[in-house]
C-alpha cells in the first residue's frame, strides 16, 4: 500500500507537478545548434578576374567505430589523399571517436577515387575551400586563409571580417545518435555571404611584373626583389610583387606566408633620397636647376669623409647634373644650404615617417632620425639616403608626388566592395596634399629625365616614351655595426611619360651581382614600364623630327659603357644560370684541389 502510494505520488509529481521542468530538460538534451558557415567573399582584380574564390570541395571523413580494418583502410587511402599512412592508421584506429578527418577539401578526382574504394565508415561532406586561380600570383599581397577559412595573411587577413560574411545557425532536435529528428527545426537563421573585394591590381600586369622581376633576380643571383606599378592619376596600384631568390639560383614569386616586401620591409634608400634634398632646395629658392657648384669627389661632414662612387676629380656641376650623375658630394653641398631642420621637414612632408595610405598588415613606418640626433655626420648621411629607413612604397610615393605636380597621390589597392546583396560600393579616391609647388615639381621631373637620358639610369629608357627617374644604390647595414661592402640594395624608381606622367614604378633588387641600381634594377624597370604603358594604351611621347629620342641617346650611352640593358628570359636566362653553375662548380673544384692533381671533367655541348 505504501509502495503504491509512493509510486502514485511520484507519478503525479512527474506527470503533473514537475512535467514542465522535465520537458525542458529533455528538450535541452535534444536541442542542437548547428552553425551554417557563410560563403567567403571573392577577391577580383580591377577587370573582374577572380584572384581568390571560394568553392565547395569534398572533405573525406571517417567514423572509426565503423571502420573494419584501420590498417588496410589507411593503406588504401594514403596514396590517394597524400596523407602519411601511419598517421591515417592512428586516426582510423581511434574507436573512442565518432569523427576523424581523412583529408579536407580534396579535388573531385581524389574524392571519386576514394568513393570508388567503397570503404565502410568513410564518408564525404562538402566544405568551402579557398582557391587562387592564378596560383602564386600576387600571393604575398593577397595572403591566404586557414582550413577554417579565417584569413591568415595579407588582404585575406586584413579584410577577414568583411570577406567572411555572417554565419547562420540551425537549431534542431537530435536523437541519441546525433540524427536530426524530422520536423523539429526550431529556428533557422540564414548565413550572409561575405563581401567581395575589387582590387586595383591588374592580373596581366601583375604577372608580367613578377616574371620580369623573377628573371632579373635570377640573372643577378640576387637574394630577392620587389616592384610596384602605380597609376599616377588615381593612386591605383596596378601591380605589387615580391620575388625570392633561392639556393637553386632560380627566383620565384613570394608565397602567401612570405612578406609583401614593398610594404613591410624598410631599407636605406640611398641615392633615390637625393631628389628630396634637391626638390626642397629648389622649392625654398636656394638653388635653381642650373645653379652650379665646384665639387671635389669627396667632402668632410663632421668627422666623416663622404666620397663619390665614381671619382671625377674637381668638377663644376649644375644641380641638374648633380642629380643626373647622382653626386653624393653635390647633394650634401645642397643639403648644407638647406639645413637639417628644413631637410627633416621635407622628409616628413613627403611622408617618410608615416605608413603609406595603403592599409596592410605589418606595414612598416619609415624610420627617421630627429634632427637633434644628426650629430656630426647626419647632414652627410641623410641627404644621400643613409641613416634613415623607408619602404619601397614610401619611395615610390615620393616620385608619384613629383609626377603629380607636387601633390601627393594616396595609393590604394582596394577600389570597391560588393555587398551580400550584390550592390557595388566604389571606394572614393583620396585627395593628396601639396608638398612642392608645381614649377618645382616640373623642374625636378625635367632633371630626372636627364638621369635616364645621359645619367646613371640609361638602362631605364623605354622605347617610345620619355622616362624620368632615379637610380639608388645603398650598402646594407651589418648586424654588428657599419656597412657591408659586398651587399647592396639596388633601386630604380621613376615615371613615364615624363611630360605627362601616367604610371610610376619602383624596382628594388636585394643583393644583386651588379651592385648598382642603374645596372641591376633599371633594366627590369624599363621592361615593366614598357609593358605597363602599352597595356594601358598610353600615348607615346612626341617625336621631334631630326632630334634623337631619349631612348636613342640613352641606348647609345649604355652601349658605349657596354651595359646590358635587357632582362634575360627563356633560353638566354637558362644558359646564364647553367654557365654560372658550371663556373661555381669549377671554382669549388679548384678550391678543393689547388694543385690541380685531379682530372678535369669537361662536358661537350649536345649536338
Amino acid at each position: 500500500m505504501i509502495a503504491f502510494l509512493a509510486v502514485s505520488v511520484r507519478l503525479v509529481d512527474l506527470q503533473a507537478l514537475s512535467a514542465a521542468r522535465y520537458r525542458e530538460l529533455g528538450l535541452e538534451q535534444r536541442l542542437r545548434t548547428v552553425p551554417i558557415n557563410a560563403e567567403r567573399g571573392s577577391i577580383f582584380d580591377r577587370n573582374g578576374r577572380d584572384l581568390a574564390i571560394s568553392v565547395q570541395r569534398e572533405t573525406i571523413w571517417a567514423d572509426p567505430r565503423l571502420v573494419v580494418d584501420p590498417g588496410a583502410a589507411a593503406r588504401a587511402l594514403a596514396p590517394i589523399v597524400g596523407v602519411d599512412e601511419a598517421l591515417l592508421t592512428e586516426r582510423l584506429a581511434r574507436r573512442d571517436r565518432e569523427f576523424v578527418y581523412v583529408a579536407r577539401t580534396v579535388d573531385d578526382a581524389i574524392a571519386q577515387q576514394v568513393r570508388a574504394l567503397d570503404l565502410p565508415g568513410v564518408s564525404f561532406v562538402y566544405e568551402s575551400a579557398r582557391q587562387y586561380p592564378g596560383g602564386a600570383l600576387a600571393a604575398a599581397l593577397l595572403g591566404e586563409v586557414g582550413l577554417e577559412n579565417a584569413g591568415l595573411f595579407g588582404l585575406e587577413a586584413l579584410y577577414d571580417d568583411e570577406l567572411a560574411g555572417k554565419p547562420g545557425e540551425l537549431v534542431v532536435e537530435r536523437d541519441r545518435d546525433g540524427r536530426t529528428i524530422p520536423r523539429t527545426v526550431r529556428r533557422e537563421q540564414q548565413p550572409e555571404r561575405g563581401t567581395d573585394l575589387v582590387l586595383t591590381i591588374d592580373q596581366a600586369i601583375q604577372y608580367r611584373v613578377e616574371r620580369t622581376l623573377a628573371d632579373q633576380v635570377t640573372a643577378e643571383s640576387a637574394r630577392g626583389g620587389m616592384a610596384v606599378v602605380i597609376d599616377v592619376e588615381s593612386g591605383d596600384v596596378l601591380a605589387m610583387a615580391t620575388v625570392v631568390g633561392d639556393e637553386t639560383g632560380i627566383a620565384r614569386p613570394a608565397t602567401a606566408s612570405e612578406r609583401n616586401r614593398p610594404l613591410t620591409d624598410t631599407f636605406e634608400p640611398g641615392s633615390t633620397n637625393k631628389v628630396i634634398t634637391v626638390a626642397s632646395a629648389l622649392d625654398e629658392g636656394l638653388v635653381g636647376p642650373h645653379t652650379e657648384f665646384d665639387l671635389d669627389d669627396w667632402i668632410t661632414v663632421g668627422d666623416k669623409q663622404f666620397r663619390e662612387d665614381h671619382p671625377h676629380g674637381r668638377v663644376r656641376w649644375s644641380v641638374s647634373e648633380i642629380l643626373a650623375q647622382s653626386s653624393n658630394v653635390g647633394t650634401i653641398t645642397i643639403a648644407q644650404l638647406l639645413g637639417k631642420e628644413r631637410l627633416d621637414a621635407a622628409l616628413r612632408e613627403f611622408g617618410l615617417d608615416d605608413p603609406t595610405a595603403i592599409d596592410f598588415p605589418g606595414q612598416a613606418d619609415g624610420v627617421l632620425l630627429d634632427p637633434d640626433e644628426y650629430y656630426g655626420v647626419g647632414m652627410g648621411s641623410v641627404p644621400i639616403g643613409y641613416a634613415l629607413s623607408v619602404s619601397a612604397m614610401q619611395i615610390l610615393d615620393v616620385y608619384t608626388t613629383i609626377a603629380n605636380g607636387g601633390v601627393t597621390v594616396p595609393p590604394r589597392v582596394v577600389s570597391g566592395r560588393i555587398d551580400a546583396g550584390g550592390g557595388r560600393v566604389t571606394m572614393p579616391v583620396e585627395h593628396g596634399t601639396r608638398v612642392l609647388t608645381e614649377p618645382t615639381a616640373q623642374a625636378v621631373a625635367t632633371m630626372l629625365e636627364r638621369v635616364v637620358t645621359d645619367g646613371t639610369g640609361t638602362c631605364a629608357a623605354v622605347r617610345g616614351y620619355n622616362v624620368a627617374g632615379k637610380t639608388g644604390t645603398s650598402r646594407k647595414a651589418r648586424p654588428e655595426g657599419g656597412y657591408a661592402d659586398d651587399r647592396h640594395m639596388a633601386t630604380f624608381v621613376g615615371f613615364a611619360p615624363a611630360e605627362a606622367p601616367r604610371l610610376a614604378t619602383i624596382v628594388v633588387i636585394d643583393e644583386p651581382a651588379q651592385t648598382y641600381g642603374g645596372r641591376a634594377a633599371a633594366p627590369a624597370f624599363a621592361e615593366i614600364m614598357q609593358h605597363a604603358l602599352r597595356s594601358e594604351r598610353v600615348q607615346p611621347s612626341a617625336v621631334v623630327p631630326g632630334v634623337p629620342s631619349q631612348w636613342d641617346v640613352a641606348h647609345a650611352a649604355a652601349s658605349a659603357e657596354r651595359l646590358s640593358c635587357a632582362v634575360p628570359h627563356g633560353t638566354a636566362l637558362t644558359e646564364l644560370v647553367e654557365a654560372r653553375a658550371a663556373a661555381a662548380a669549377a671554382a669549388a673544384a679548384a678550391a678543393e684541389d689547388p694543385a690541380g692533381t685531379l682530372p678535369t671533367v669537361t662536358t661537350e655541348p649536345a649536338g
Binding site: 573582374g48 573531385d108 592564378g134 596581366a204 551580400a420 621592361e527 638566354a572
Partner: protein, 157 residues
C-alpha cells in the same frame, strides 16, 4: 388506458357511429404522433448520412491535401537539391574559367604546345600614331554577371 364511459341513459352500443368516430379521432391523433417520429428518424438518418459523407469527404480532402503538401515538399526538396547542384556547378565552372584564363596557365599551355619564350621583346614604333583609348570591353565578364548573380545564391550551398 382510457376507459370509455357511456353517457347516462344511453345503452352502450346504441350510438356506435359516435364511438367509432371517437376511436378514429383517437387513432388519428396517434397516427399524427407516429408521422412526426418517422420524419424525425428520417431527418436523423439523413443527417448521419450527410455527416458520414462529409467526414469521408473531409478525410479524403485531408488525405489529398496531405499528399499534395508532401508532394510539394518532395518537389521543393528536389528543386533545392537541383539548385545546390547548379550552384556547385556554377562555382566549379567559374573556378575553371578563372584558372584557364590565368596568365600562368596560358603560358604553361603555350609551352606545352611548343611555343618558345623570346629572349628579348622588340616593340615596333609608329611615330605619330595615337593608340586607341583603353577598350571599354572588360577582359572578363565575371564581375558584371556576379553583381546580378550574387544575391540569388545561398550563402552555404
Amino acid at each position: 388506458m382510457t376507459a370509455t364511459v357511456a353517457p347516462s341513459g344511453v345503452v352502450a352500443g346504441v350510438r356506435p357511429e359516435r364511438s367509432t368516430r371517437a376511436l378514429e379521432e383517437q387513432g388519428r391523433a396517434r397516427l399524427r404522433v407516429a408521422d412526426d417520429l418517422v420524419a424525425h428518424r428520417r431527418r436523423v438518418r439523413a443527417l448521419v448520412a450527410l455527416g458520414a459523407v462529409s467526414a469521408a469527404l473531409s478525410l479524403f480532402l485531408l488525405v489529398a491535401f496531405s499528399v499534395f503538401v508532401v508532394n510539394g515538399q518532395f518537389t521543393l526538396e528536389r528543386l533545392e537539391r537541383q539548385r545546390e547542384e547548379e550552384q556547385l556547378r556554377y562555382e566549379q565552372l567559374r573556378l575553371e574559367v578563372a584558372t584557364r584564363s590565368a596568365p600562368q596557365t596560358i603560358v604553361q599551355r603555350a609551352r606545352a604546345m611548343g611555343l618558345v619564350e623570346p629572349t628579348e621583346v622588340q616593340f615596333v614604333e609608329a611615330p605619330g600614331a595615337v593608340p586607341d583609348d583603353p577598350a571599354d570591353d572588360p577582359t572578363s565578364h565575371t564581375l558584371a554577371s556576379w553583381d546580378e548573380v550574387k544575391d540569388k545564391l545561398v550563402a552555404d550551398p
